[in-house]
Subunit: 341 residues, 2 copies
């Protein structure tokens, strides 16, 4: 497993919260695109601009679904894996981090002494310098505090409550409404063509499962994410699984191919990730190792006006895309609409 089991970039997005004017522009843009989306179209990818990216997707799907073609892939082997943060929904801020903060605030009402923990105090203040200095242990402390020591069913309830009301700090819409419309169309399009669609994300597996069916049409058994060790217990004669503060799998970077193999026993023929931390390079590389024809998408956040523009300091993901001939999705050029509604 990777050493950096909870990545500091989990936290960096908070800094974007300061970028007020850009976000106001996005909110206006959202309203306009929502109105446009009322117009129905027979195009399965109607929120994608015509161009090379859209053509790559359409041609790939046509190729692997044409019976008798040498490129035909049997439906059972048409696996598609999607990163979540920054690929399927907005990662500014990272949704699961908003949940951590929300939980901490609730917990402090009951246990005010938690404020005495430096990591908790730093999180509540948004003091990123503290976490950069203290590293993984400090991050793990607030994550486990809010995610462990309860049963899976109890956690599911907390997450469900959160998703019912939690809003994007700047857009003002529910966090579940900050999914990308073009990617939702892509998920549906692939499923209509016999693909089995999976999430494969560094996010917590139970956290994502709480909303994956509702917002992406992906059932819980097709969600792969970071997972803690679950402990089986009998409480009052009833079986429960307790979430422990012990990491089982960190499903990011090299952990993604391992997670896909563990959960599916297959190599996907389609995979989509995004630029930010290099977290999807291994998954896209793994996808490309399929003996079948395969397609890799890398979403580039290059639209400061309608969404966000962010890059990697070392440009690793885009360099890998060039080297391996992956299809780069430019949000600015390829998407007519950003958010689903």
């Amino acid at each position: 497993m990777s050493q950096d089991f909870i990545d500091p970039v989990f936290w960096q997005p908070l800094m974007y919260l300061k970028v007020g004017p850009i976000l106001a522009a996005v909110a206006v843009s959202c309203t306009l695109t929502f109105m446009a989306s009322v117009v129905q179209s027979a195009d399965p990818l109607s929120s994608w601009n015509e161009g090379q990216t859209k053509q790559s997707i359409l041609q790939f799907v046509a190729k692997v679904t044409t019976e008798g073609s040498p490129d035909f892939v049997p439906p059972a082997e048409r696996l598609a894996t999607f990163d979540n943060d920054g690929t399927l929904w907005c990662e500014q801020p990272v949704v699961q981090f908003v949940f951590v903060l929300d939980r901490l605030k609730h917990m402090i009402d009951q246990q005010p002494e938690l404020r005495d923990k430096p990591a908790v105090a730093a999180a509540l203040k948004g003091d990123m310098a503290y976490f950069e200095q203290e590293g993984e242990q400090a991050i793990a402390e607030v994550v486990y505090l809010t995610h462990a020591g309860m049963t899976v069913a109890e956690f599911d309830e907390l997450a469900a409550e959160f998703f019912k009301t939690a809003k994007h700090p700047k857009y003002g819409v529910l966090l579940t409404e900050t999914t990308y419309q073009p990617m939702r169309e892509l998920l549906s399009y692939l499923r209509e063509n016999g693909f089995k669609t999976y999430i494969c994300s560094g996010g917590g597996i139970e956290f994502m499962r709480g909303v994956s069916q509702e917002i992406y049409g992906i059932p819980p058994e097709q969600v792969i994410g970071s997972a803690g060790v679950l402990e089986f217990r009998e409480q009052n004669g009833k079986a429960v699984l307790v979430k422990t503060p012990k990491l089982l799998t960190f499903n990011d970077k090299q952990g993604k191919p391992a997670g896909i193999a563990l959960h599916t026993g297959r190599v996907p023929i389609f995979a989509a990730g995004n630029v930010r931390t290099g977290g999807d390079i291994a998954m896209l590389t793994y996808c490309q190792s399929s003996p079948h024809p395969s397609l890799q998408l890398l979403v580039n956040h290059d639209d400061a006006e309608r969404e966000f523009a962010y890059a990697e300091s070392d440009n690793r993901s885009l360099n890998a895309a060039r080297e391996h001939n992956w299809t780069v999705v430019s949000i600015k050029d390829d998407w007519t609409q950003i958010f689903a509604k």
Copy 2:
């Protein structure tokens, strides 16, 4: 995770190999029942005798699939989990142990020095006393020697080769032919009624995935088993996953509910296990914690004439079945035919 991560009972079945006359009787019985199976029937569970057990299954499935009934369960939540060894196929001897021995023999041809390892020498001699004395470490040594240090794809090829030719030491048929006909009918019947069928076994996840589709109609992504840590590497510019000698999950006893939760995020409404080690008690208890109506089956190996008769020294599984009102399947009384052909 459980302390006894490779159970000594993995090995005990070898002792059954001495029981020649019983096995000869089974072989004759197999032939006769094969002839009987040619007669087609509209009964979806035609290899099950009429009686309480069969009725429990039929009534349960009718109940949860009747729309409008208070017991109706939506198809998405109709999850059924089956243990493998002793529940879906014969565990005398444990098939994966036959594979270990087969691999050791092949490996010794290339690396005769392996004979100098006491654990290898003991395994080849069938010296169970050695493993009882040396414990888990010795067992782990031969398991890892034969299962790790290669890519997943390489292992899959070895397992596929093994299954093509490996025969049951006494029946003389392929090991893949020692699956239970009544359980295969049950798997099909559940799937026809909208259930998603899973294997949930202590066996190695990749090992079972090699044959699960062919012999049970269960695709690899619906196989849950014990898993080692996989290491992502790039070899000659191609992504591979290497099987390391490090245990990630031991999917037996309390590990089974945790494995089901990890892989599916759901609680099954149907689960089937068997008597031998108490390995399925936690899974059946977990199944019964479902808020929906649920059914638990426990296969009792009580047919010394047609298969094997074995019990637990402490009778734990049967006691649990009585306490929790699980349905006990008597091979002797409930099955008209044992093996599929």
